[in-house]
Symmetry: C2
Subunit: 236 residues, 2 copies
């Protein structure tokens, strides 16, 4: 039986979707990408909600009838069930334990902060057809500051990448997380030299896989912003 592709439901506006997209491409795992538009609320309704995932979230996969949500659970599923190059989740020197430590930490910290900032500054105003609420953005920015500092202090002290000399899934997910505020005008690198150096190293290592997906992210942002600005200016 020939290997059937995984169905991969995603939106490049979402950081975890971008990370998994890059992992699937870089690992040469056959997959069928299915775009689910966050801006149109397609993750909340219709066939996606009824037949793909009860979680009303992206990303999700359907692997030959097996439906799975939660991006890090999908990452682990791919590692077990498909062929993913070892360096993304290396056994050597207990690398997997170190990566797991980061993946848990980020769920409560950098992941929350980058999502909140993106929502307050960009997504909520877009969906509500208003300007961003300054207080909410400032609150989210403060939380983001703290989390970027913690990320740099806890994970980027001595090595080129998070767990050592080679790039892993921790770096891939982290750069997509940092990009969430970065691509909408926030500069994460001020007074953070180690973060800046790490970011460049990850971007270089990921090469065209990262460049393509980030380009798509950027283009989708700019198109939506254009429409949004027109709506706002008509209101005035």
């Amino acid at each position: 039986m020939p290997m059937q592709p995984i169905k991969f439901y995603y939106d490049v506006l979402n950081q975890s979707s971008r990370a998994l997209y890059i992992l699937l491409e870089a690992s040469k795992i056959p997959f069928e990408p299915v775009q689910i538009s966050l801006l149109k609320g397609e993750h909340l309704t219709g066939e996606y909600r009824d037949k793909v995932t009860r979680f009303k979230r992206i990303p999700a996969i359907n692997d030959h009838g097996f439906q799975l949500s939660e991006s890090v659970a999908i990452f682990r599923h791919l590692v077990r069930e498909k062929i993913v190059p070892e360096h993304w989740y290396p056994r050597k020197n207990l690398g997997r334990s170190r990566i797991d430590e980061y993946l848990e930490w980020r769920q409560r910290n950098l992941g929350v902060a980058s999502t909140d900032y993106f929502q307050q500054k960009w997504l909520v105003p877009y969906l509500q057809k208003t300007r961003a609420n300054e207080n909410s953005v400032n609150g989210a920015a403060k939380q983001l500051e703290r989390n970027l500092n913690d990320f740099e202090n806890l994970f980027l002290q001595s090595n080129k990448f998070i767990i050592g000399d080679t790039i892993s899934y921790a770096d891939l997910l982290a750069i997509c997380e940092v990009d969430q505020p970065k691509y909408i005008g926030y500069n994460p690198f001020i007074k953070r030299n180690k973060l800046s150096k790490w970011y460049d190293a990850v971007r270089e290592e990921l090469g065209p896989f990262y460049k393509d997906v980030s380009g798509e992210f950027e283009s989708k942002l700019r198109t939506a912003e254009k429409g949004h600005n027109e709506v706002i200016s008509m209101k005035q």
Copy 2:
């Protein structure tokens, strides 16, 4: 070389500490328990902060010089490096993927809600030697309601346990999470028959391991409350 025990740093007041303690005992993994008192702030200072974990959190382990934080990362480490009975994280029927899905979900949902409720209702008043702030407790209670409903609707629909007929680490962590509000007077079972049935099944399956650790949790809570009530009544 005889197998040296893992050093396990924990406090029974913390849900993830209890879950790992029970897993270590039930799996017969040799370990040396080291109590770190949350109420005395021992996780924030001294040798623990300087030499055990830079995260200032419990639980943590030291496995022959390898230090690791984040309870779910520790769980995964034990599964890989020690002998943990298969049913806690079964390969069969893609059980590991289903458990991973729950473990990711809980980090943003039930885990946050049960911790927040415990903090607002119990821990913050204890540390600040005041009464609980009613508004904060009500806010945390509403968040908890939503999350318990979601937990029941998303994960407890058809099976005895979260992933099927056998207990897994998802159930163990979840019961410890539900206990966090339950042991300080919150009734999670009102209008939640499936949650109630699941809770009884998990408790029965865990037997004395659960009973012992929960008894210690309860006794520590009641002792601290006694001291707290004396402080409060002296203030009046």
